[in-house]
Amino acid sequence: MSDKLKEIINKQVEKNDNIVDQLDDVVQLVGFVIGDEEYAVPILSIQEIIKPFPWTRVPQVPKYVLGVFNLRGSVIPLIDLRLKFGLPPKRQSDDTRFIVIRDGDDVAGFVIDRLTMAIRIKKENVGPPPDTVNGDDTIIDGVGKQEDKIITILKVKKLLQRDF
């Protein structure tokens, strides 16, 4: 292999590293509202966001597991985050969406009240979860600070983990 070729390859590697560095600085999230609070999950964990459609109830599960629905041939569980977070149930409105979140082979749909927007937050603006909820058990991954508000970032693994 010629030296020139090596040089080019090295350059490309460097370039790639730079891109990764830039990406590493910023976290991309999708924000949504449940009740009065704004939450967010990493954009890459979201498979898709869809409008509500009918689902099938499943027996012998906690109230917050609404059931299962058909997403293009796959049977996917549907979880109501309002109920999961201990909020009173609310009728679905035009703003209600199902967020389909995937982590490896685990996938589930989550009912949220309203979407807000895609958010880019610098890594340094993401703080750890408050001490009171610290530990492995928490569903909170961190707290993102924006100019006028803070956003709770949820742990995808924890969301998709069966806890009953």
Binding site: V58, P59, A108
Partner: protein
């Protein structure tokens, strides 16, 4: 190292296949000890395994197979007779070989298994220790064997080094290369020799002398034109004997030469293919549904016929495709059956009984996954038949039965199921004895025992902890086996059916669905939900009226012909909210599984459909009573009932009384606006007139433009409606239908429905009453009249005015 692994894999696959065939051959060999073809086959297996294992440095295995080869080689040269004693040692060595192969598969090494004892025994045999008794036979056989020997000789000359174990480890690469080439050449030569042997009249001896060469032809003639002059050869007797051999062996040989055209496919690929077919089946269901919708809407249109044709072709091809792919996953059940002759042989020697095994239908095919699961239960059943079923020879003779007991193992297709039937002609099951035993062991209560039919008593043998053998033998009697049978068969959604007659024998039938991925299901409805029940577990469905259900000890039962069937409501199991009013009639789906039966009460039978089982995923797995889900023609998800679990749950589920009128508690009205009236009319003008008439009294008003919307509003529960004003003529859903739909719900039983219509005929009024309307106001009406009717019906308190 990877390359080594690859070779190792090939070696293991090949060896296990060979060994599997071996068992069968060996048992057969015992009954036909001079079948040279069989012996050669067995010898080849030992030889192949030896060659490969020495190449792969599995010393223990090489050591063992080398000695096996010695014995077998002698046997096929007629220097050794195969007696049952010799056979025992050979079988033992084959078991060891299997153990070693398994060890290699698991650990990539063959260390840790002691073969020396077995090798010593093999040596003893090959050194002729047993020849004392075998000599005479051997002498005779040797004469016979002279010719076959000639066939072997050239081969032997070519392969003398083979017997020496070469030290491959210390070879230089060049030497190894050379060795491989030499082995290759040797193998080719062997193959050639074999081929030639086959070509030569499909049997025997490419002989050395021309005189002998003619002989086979003469024999052929002999076969065709019976008694001809015997060949003028010195070996007269032996040649005619040989002719017999030719006759016996020739067909077998020919069958062996037709090589099957097969390829090995990774099971994962087949699974993937099966998944895709599953998707296709779902799409097909959907297409059929759409087709029928379209048919309804555009009746009589010309394009319909074309559409119909396409849909039926698609569904036909899909079904064929599904069957074809299913077939690729099918294995003949013979694969499982093959190990039983050996097992029966061992068992009968161990138990000192004489047992013959008759196998039929071994070509019957089953899905690979089922074939893998079915082995264990069959082993247990057959062991049980040998140990408990078949009597000792003395007993049998005393009973006037033939000394040799027979166990028949049979497989055949029956509809969408495969039936495996195991019959024995032993002593049969004694229901009274079974009950007595179960009572002693506390498996059943006295009351249960009294109520039990004979058939139910037979099923007691499948209860955990049950064993009829008075003494525990190494074969059975620990009360584990038959329990395993039941669990495994139930896992496959199968049904067990036992029949028995004392001193005549026992017959056990296992009915198993052909495949597990795509199944026929019965769809049932309960309230507003649907569930799918695997059709294989459904015995029948019955329509009953409510008063046919009796309650015994807090559980529902019904009489089904002779039997008492315990019942459970599907709604009780799946916690279905009773929002719809219960019908006077219900349907009972009689489920049968393993040996138990259960009646499942449902509200509605929807129909039969082919469904594809999908898993609920990790998040929801393990929900009791649910085996999975399927996607229906309309795109919705329907849950599949797990009949096994259902039977268990049913035992604990008590009847919940149907709570009638348990609607939402009526809250106290404190002001006029607490009253909510729904106006249902498709005409804006009419709605406005009603609104104007009711606004003065201060009630809350909700409007809907047709029956469908009204029903949805009502079901949503957003409003606590106190009365409804309903127009009759409406699009989508008319007033009558709306009224009868509403009346289906328990909580709206007492909701006043007031018809407001321009239809004045008496028959219209009658229909209104039938559908549940309480008042009938004809247009035009005065505002005061409407207001007063509404007030009367909602018990409006005058002080709010």
């Amino acid at each position: 190292m990877d390359e080594f692994q690859e070779i190792l894999q090939d070696f293991l696959v090949e060896s296990f296949e060979l060994v599997e065939k071996l068992d069968e051959d060996l048992v057969e060999l015992e009954s036909r000890p001079d079948d040279l073809e069989l012996l050669n086959g067995i010898f080849r297996v030992a030889h192949t395994v030896k060659g490969a294992s020495s190449f792969l440095n599995f010393d223990t295995l090489t050591h063992l197979t080398h000695h096996m080869e010695d014995v077998l080689n002698k046997a096929r040269h007629g220097e050794l007779a195969i007696t049952p004693d010799v056979m025992d040692v050979i079988l033992e060595s084959i078991d060891l070989m299997k153990a070693l192969l398994e060890k290699i598969r698991d650990t990539s090494s063959d260390e840790g298994i002691d073969v020396s004892a077995c090798v010593a025994r093999l040596d003893k045999i090959s050194n002729g220790d047993l020849s004392g008794l075998a000599d005479a036979v051997a002498q005779e056989e040797r004469k016979e064997a002279q010719e076959p020997k000639k066939e072997e000789e050239p081969k032997k000359e070519e392969t003398p080094e083979e017997e020496e174990e070469l030290d491959y480890e210390n070879m230089t690469p060049e030497e190894v290369e050379a060795e491989i080439e030499r082995l290759l050449a040797q193998r080719q030569a062997e193959d050639r020799a074999k081929r030639e042997a086959k070509i030569a009249a499909g049997e025997e001896v490419p002989s050395m002398t021309p005189e002998e060469e003619e002989e086979p032809e003469k024999e052929e003639e002999q076969k065709k034109e019976t008694p001809k002059a015997p060949a003028p050869s010195s070996q007269k007797s032996s040649s005619s004997k040989k002719a017999e051999d030719v006759k016996a062996a020739a067909p077998a040989k020919r069958a062996a030469t037709t090589v099957e055209q097969t390829i090995r496919v990774d099971v994962k690929r087949l699974d993937h293919l099966m998944n895709l077919i599953g998707e296709l089946v779902l799409a097909k269901n959907r297409l059929i549904k759409i087709n029928s919708d379209v048919e309804e809407r555009y009746e009589g249109e010309e394009f319909l016929e074309e559409l119909n044709q396409v849909v039926s072709i698609v569904s036909l091809v899909t079904t064929d495709l599904q069957i074809a792919v299913m077939k690729t996953r099918m294995l003949p059940i013979g694969k499982v059956f093959n190990k039983f002759p050996r097992m029966i042989r061992d068992l009968s020697r161990e138990l000192n009984k004489k047992i013959e095994l008759v196998i039929s239908g071994e070509d019957t095919e089953l899905d690979k996954s089922i074939v893998e699961e079915i082995g264990d239960p069959l082993v247990h059943i057959i062991r049980n038949s040998c140990d408990h079923g078949i009597e000792t020879p003395q007993e049998r003779i005393a009973k006037g039965k033939p000394e040799v007991g027979t166990i028949t193992l049979k497989a055949y297709n029956e509809g969408n199921q495969i039936v495996i039937q195991i019959d024995d002609d032993g002593k049969g099951l004694d229901p009274e004895m079974l009950k007595q035993k179960s009572l002693e062991k506390g498996i059943i209560t006295e009351k249960e025992a009294d109520a039990m039919s004979d058939k139910e008593a037979y099923t007691l043998i499948f209860k955990p902890g049950f064993s009829t053998a008075t003494a525990v033998t190494s074969v059975s009697g620990r009360g584990v086996g038959m329990d395993v049978v039941k669990t495994n068969i139930e896992k496959l959604n199968g049904i067990i059916d036992i029949d028995s007659e004392i001193d005549k024998g026992t017959s056990i039938k296992l009915k198993i669905p052909l495949t597990l991925a795509i199944i026929q299901a019965l769809l049932v409805g309960v309230q507003e939900e649907h569930y799918a029940i695997p059709l294989a577990s459904v015995l029948e469905t019955v329509r009953i009226s409510k008063d046919e259900i009796y309650t015994v000890e807090g559980r529902s039962v019904m009489r089904l012909r002779e039997d008492v069937l315990s019942l459970v409501h599907i709604g009780d199991i799946f916690e279905v909210e009773r929002i719809l009013d219960a019908n006077e009639h219900a349907y009972v789906v009689v489920l049968g599984l393993g040996t138990s039966k259960l009646g499942l009460i449902v509200d509605l039978l929807v129909g039969q459909e082919e469904i594809v089982i999908k898993s609920l995923g990790d998040y929801l797995k393990g929900i009791e009573g649910i085996a999975g889900a399927t996607i229906r023609g309309d795109g919705g998800v329907t849950l599949i009932v797990d009949v096994v679990a259902l039977m268990d749950i049913a035992k604990e589920t008590k009847v919940t009384q149907i709570t009638s009128g348990a609607g939402s508690a009526v809250s106290e009205k404190t002001k006029a606006s607490d009253y909510t009236i729904m106006i249902v009319d498709d005409s804006k003008t009419d709605r406005t007139i009603m609104r104007k008439a009711l606004e003065p009294i201060g009630v809350t008003l909700v409007e809907a433009v047709d029956g469908q919307e009204a029903l949805n509003l009502l079901k949503s529960g957003d409003y606590n409606v106190d009365a409804m004003l309903i127009d009759i003529e409406m699009p989508r859903m008319d007033g009558y239908t709306l009224a009868s739909e509403i009346k289906k719900y328990n909580r709206y039983k007492n909701l006043p429905l007031i018809a407001v219509t321009s239809r004045t005929a008496k028959s219209d009024r009658m229909r209104g009453v039938e559908s549940g309307m309480v008042e009938y106001i004809t247009k035009p009406y005065s505002a005061d009249y409407l207001a007063s009717v509404v007030q009367r019906n909602v018990n409006f308190k005058p002080e709010f005015l």
